[in-house]
């Protein structure tokens, strides 16, 4: 079932926005394939008519009145920001650079 190539590993790392070293990519290629091999056991089960389980307690939608309540102050929300400008987080420019699409 599992046959992740080095290129696949690099592609997944990019999807996950993880910058990995050559050494990490090489080690992960082996480890991920070994772990994916363990998943093969699932293919032996017929689950065609089994519904998926996403959560185990039967809670329906939780609704509340749409009224303003006290929440985190702007100061508190910004207190850990690496960089701020007035009442805002400073974010890197995302337009014009490579990968902005």
């Amino acid at each position: 079932m599992a046959n992740l190539s080095r290129a696949d590993v690099e592609h997944v790392a990019h999807l996950a926005r993880l910058g990995l070293s050559e050494e990490e990519l090489a080690r992960l290629e082996g480890q991920l394939n070994h772990i994916l091999d363990q998943y093969a056991v699932l293919a032996t089960l017929d689950t065609e008519h089994i519904p998926p389980t996403a959560q185990t307690i039967e809670l329906a939608n939780i609704l509340r009145e749409d009224v303003v309540q006290p929440s985190l102050s702007v100061e508190a929300a910004l207190s850990n920001a690496p960089e701020r400008s007035g009442d805002h987080f400073v974010v890197p420019a995302i337009l014009g650079g490579e990968g902005g699409a």
């Binding site: 992740l4 996950a16 926005r17 389980t53 307690i57 985190l72 207190s79 850990n80 690496p82 400073v90």
Partner: protein
């Protein structure tokens, strides 16, 4: 008074109300022990003497006020008023750190309290500090912490289990009577088993997760560690219940009887009469140590002798649990951990000045190896073309696993008993290079998370001089009867010789020449002990 650190929380509670001890004295005794021994254990990431003493004095004032106002006012205080507790370092305390064992959250200061923290404050518990853990709760040994491993007080060269290893070791070492952990696939029960204490994972939805760093949101639950069942029940009571800030917390009443589990052994043991206990044959997995299996079978024989019936059952999809879990948990983690982008808080690397490159560096440099591995697995399992084969398939098998348990409850059983961990504490380094061997540590605990059930691990004696745990699994919302059963087992083994033993190498941690866990790990890496290699 005798050594204050050897008291149970329920004993502290009684002495506090009787005016025979102050919360300040209890708190100082525990802080002293933690500060003295932490170099050799590394169970704590923060020991917060200043704030703990403020909380202790406030608790003493509340108790004094209660005593002045009369018996009713004193009785209205929560039993944990004035009692020390530790928090795993992924629980938010306003103004304090919450690293989740990760470099990526180094320096982060929580701007608000978690609901668990707020409820502990309301109860008057004294928060001593924050405990070590596997990074983002991913691991079974606490070796994946960015802040160094934790030693097991029973054998300092061995792991305490994980991911809540610091919380377990701190309770086992008498640094605190109580601590909070989280359990996604066994992260409370497995370290409780390896450290010889009680650890409980509640029903999914029992405890609010507001203000707790998320790992896998359909599986994560918060729960207590303690040195006896009654204490675990007190802490569960304090933190449980519906919270408007967590839509997945359930509007289920919290039983007041959690505060009054029987103190007397005879009364406690009587609960076993007529109980039907299921023993799942699949839980005696390959690679299980014979000593562990023997302790569990002896525990069941003792319960049978006390009036319970034990019947073997089959949970036929157990074998698929590990693979199912290691698709669902990484998939959910890859989604939850997408938030760490170095913009709003936490570690960031803007050395390249280019958006995508900095994003990659921040995450690549901030996360450790196990977290990266799981993000990779999860991203792959959710990626285009693989979703049906992996994630959807795993969710369907999850249904089958849950149905296995449903059939046991439908057949009228009161509880399922099984081993907690297939092995006792393993040596540091033994599984760190072999993720699949590490994942097998949780083979007996993770099906319980996938079915959303409550489970508790309680000490069941020793194997090769190290603690082995008995796991009791209950139907949804059955924490009270599950704990009554656990208390009954504790009562019928109250006079067993192993109950009086303290962790074998705890005394060594008083010696300033004893190596730290990091030094131990280095030494073991250069000269592995016999038999400590990865298991097949």
């Amino acid at each position: 008074m005798a050594n204050l650190t050897r008291l149970h929380a329920h004993e502290m509670s009684r002495l506090l109300r009787a005016g025979e001890v102050t919360s300040r004295a209890l708190t100082e005794a525990h802080l002293d022990a933690a500060e003295r021994q932490n170099r050799a254990l590394n169970a704590w990431l923060v020991i917060d003497r200043t704030n703990a003493l403020v909380m202790a004095d406030a608790a003493d004032a509340r108790i004094a006020e209660g005593r002045r106002a009369g018996a009713a006012a004193l009785a209205a205080l929560h039993p944990l008023c004035g009692v020390p507790v530790a928090l795993k370092d992924l629980v938010s305390i306003e103004g304090g750190q919450a690293t989740a064992g990760s470099k990526i959250l180094k320096g982060y200061i929580a701007p608000f309290d978690s609901t668990v923290t707020a409820r502990l404050r309301e109860a008057g518990a004294v928060i001593l500090g924050k405990t070590n853990m596997d990074e983002f709760a991913m691991g079974s040994s606490t070796e994946h912490s960015a802040y160094g491993p934790t030693s097991n007080p029973w054998a300092l060269d061995r792991v305490p289990g994980g991911s809540s290893g610091g919380s377990a070791a701190a309770v086992a070492a008498y640094h605190t009577p109580l601590s909070i952990g989280t359990d996604t696939g066994g992260s409370i029960r497995q370290p409780a088993s390896l450290c010889g204490i009680v650890g409980l994972k509640p029903t999914y939805g029992r405890v609010s997760r507001y203000g707790i760093v998320a790992f896998a949101s359909s599986l994560d639950q918060i729960g207590p560690f303690a040195r006896d069942v009654r204490d675990a029940a007190l802490l569960l009571h304090a933190v449980s219940g519906r919270d408007e800030r967590d839509a997945t917390s359930a509007p289920m009443p919290v039983p007041a009887e959690l505060l009054s589990l029987p103190a007397g052994d005879d009364e406690a043991a009587a609960y076993l009469k007529g109980r039907r206990i299921a023993l799942p044959k699949e839980y005696f997995v390959e690679g299980m140590e014979p000593g562990v299996a023997a302790r569990v079978r002896e525990a069941l024989a003792a319960m049978q002798a006390a009036g319970a019936t034990v019947e073997e059952v089959s949970l036929p999809h157990t074998h698929y649990g590990l693979a199912t879990y290691y698709i669902i948990a990484p998939a959910e983690c890859s989604s939850n951990l997408a938030r760490y982008d170095g913009v709003k808080y936490g570690y960031f690397d803007r050395s390249s000045g280019e958006y995508i490159a900095d994003y990659l560096r921040t995450r690549g440099g901030g996360f450790g190896p196990e977290v990266k591995r799981r993000i990779m697995l999860g991203t792959y399992a959710l990626s285009a073309g693989y979703y049906d084969a992996y994630y959807l398939k795993a969710q369907k098998v999850r249904t089958l696993i849950k149905q296995d348990f449903d059939a046991v409850w439908a057949a009228g059983f009161d509880a399922i008993c099984a081993p907690t961990s297939p092995t006792v504490a393993f040596p540091m380094g033994a599984r760190i290079e072999d993720p699949v061997a590490m994942y097998l540590s949780d083979a007996c605990t993770l099906p319980v998370n996938m079915a959303g059930l409550p489970g508790v691990s309680i000490p069941a004696g020793l194997s090769d001089g190290l603690p082995a745990g008995l796991q009791i699994i209950g139907a949804p919302w059955s924490e009270l009867s599950m704990l009554r059963l656990a208390r009954a087992y504790e009562a019928i083994t109250a006079r067993a010789a192993w109950r009086d033993l303290e962790p074998a190498e705890l005394k060594l941690t008083d010696d300033p020449t004893t190596p730290s866990p990091i030094e131990r790990k280095e030494r073991l890496r250069s000269a592995p002990a016999p038999g400590s290699g990865p298991r097949a």
